[in-house]
């Protein structure tokens, strides 16, 4: 009985996936080009993210604050990091879409740079998705205030990827891909990323 139920479930999942692929093939959503990138990015403060993930800073909080205070401070820090990761996730999605669109252009150098950018953006997106899930679970199930299961430095890595390093690599790849923009736009790109 369970086997039949699971078979039907897999058939349903397969059918839905076929419908989604059909939708991808038929939809003609406008592709993201250079004009649709710079203004769509949210700034991410990597120095702030670095300080939130610093084990020494967390140790200091645990040492100085009472249980109740630490619990409150930790939730605030988590919420702040959640926001930063959301921005990282959004920016990487914008850049993945741009990389996908540029992968079809005729200039081999642009294709190469777009592919490198897309690769880094997918890595950041993968890290962000895993970290968002992890952080949401921690926040929903109220972390043990002095336990070690919900320590912020553990969020630095997800899926074998160092989030902040990957994001920095994404910024470098974006700078290379958008080098031909005007000085003002390039400045805005580096600020917004």
């Amino acid at each position: 009985m369970i086997a039949i139920f699971l078979t039907w479930l897999i058939v349903a999942v397969g059918a839905l996936s076929c419908i989604y692929m059909l939708f991808c093939a038929w939809s003609r959503f406008p592709r993201r080009d250079f004009d649709d990138v710079v203004h769509f990015l949210y700034p991410v403060d990597l120095a702030l993210a670095e300080s939130l993930l610093d084990p020494a800073a967390e140790f200091e909080f645990r040492w100085k604050l009472s249980r109740q205070e630490f619990r409150q401070a930790q939730r605030k820090r988590m919420r702040l990091y959640l926001e930063l990761v959301r921005r990282m996730s959004h920016n990487s999605k914008v850049l993945v879409e741009f990389g996908n669109a540029e992968a079809n252009c005729h200039d081999p150098r642009s294709v190469e740079l777009a592919r490198a950018l897309q690769q880094k953006a997918v890595e950041v997106r993968f890290y962000s998705v895993l970290t968002l899930v992890k952080l949401s679970v921690w926040m929903w199930f109220a972390p043990n205030d002095h336990g070690h299961s919900a320590t912020m430095p553990r969020l630095r890595k997800a899926g074998d990827l160092d989030g902040l390093q990957s994001y920095h690599a994404l910024k470098v790849a974006a700078a290379a891909a958008f080098l031909h923009l005007g000085p003002g736009e390039l400045e805005m790109l580096t600020q917004n990323l």
Partner: protein
């Protein structure tokens, strides 16, 4: 009606030519092997169709070959898509876990029909074949899920291979499930559906492979920036820190 059974063979020959033309055997060697095997297997079945016992043996041997190559192709697809993203240990365990789960589910599903199948060997082939169908649908669904989540480009060879197998396996699983539910009344209809689904799958593969996929590593001359660009790049990096 007789003609319908040979449409997939003709389409597979066209697909083999497309794969050779696009040099896709470099990026998808196991899929190329699968297509060549498919052409050879269909020709072999056609050649011995008038000899009952020879056809029986050829059918089941080639069926086992399809199953083994089906798994290898899905592993190739899985590795091609996920390897550039992460090398986490749990991702490496995902494929064996899906394979083992599918075999378990297939054994549980085919237990009821074990008595109806001729021999032990044939039962094993049917179990493996059903497990391969589960693997193909699950890998296809998993990859499709990654398209909106990670923003992966769906128009690439790996997704084309997965889509063709996903479509065919979904119909094949539906056909076998309905067939066991309703007896032999739907035999003809479902077998026609199966051939049509396989033909559609081969058409999907032809469509995906008809567009060349750009090489991953362009030549060194293509990637060399001018000195002016290099200076600007260094300047941007300095400001980023």
């Amino acid at each position: 009606m007789f003609v319908l059974w040979y449409i997939p063979l003709c389409l597979l020959v066209v697909l083999a030519f497309v794969l050779v033309h696009q040099r896709a055997y470099r990026s998808c060697p196991w899929f190329f092997a699968y297509v060549v095997f498919g052409v050879a297997a269909d020709i072999a079945r056609f050649a011995v169709q008038k000899h009952r016992s020879a056809y029986f043996a050829t059918y089941w041997i080639t069926d086992a070959g399809y199953a083994v190559l089906g798994v290898l192709v899905m592993y190739e697809v899985f590795r091609t898509v996920l390897r550039p993203i992460t090398r986490a240990w749990w991702v490496r365990l995902a494929f064996p876990a899906i394979l083992l789960g599918s075999i378990g589910l297939s054994v549980a599903r085919n237990q009821a029909s074990a008595a109806q199948l001729g021999g032990r060997l044939m039962l094993c082939i049917v179990v493996v074949e059903t497990a391969v169908r589960f693997v193909q649908v699950l890998i296809f669904a998993g990859l499709v899920t990654l398209v909106p989540i990670l923003g992966l480009r769906w128009r690439q060879y790996s997704f084309g291979v997965a889509t063709g197998f996903g479509l065919y396996s979904t119909v094949a699983l539906l056909a076998t499930t309905k067939f066991s539910d309703f007896g032999t009344r739907f035999t003809f209809l479902w077998s026609v559906m199966s051939v049509v689904a396989y033909s559609l799958a081969v058409l999907i593969w032809i469509w995906f492979f008809s567009v060349p996929q750009k090489a991953e590593t362009p030549g060194p001359m293509d990637s060399a920036p001018s000195p002016g660009e290099l200076e600007r790049y260094k300047d941007v990096l300095r400001r980023m820190r």
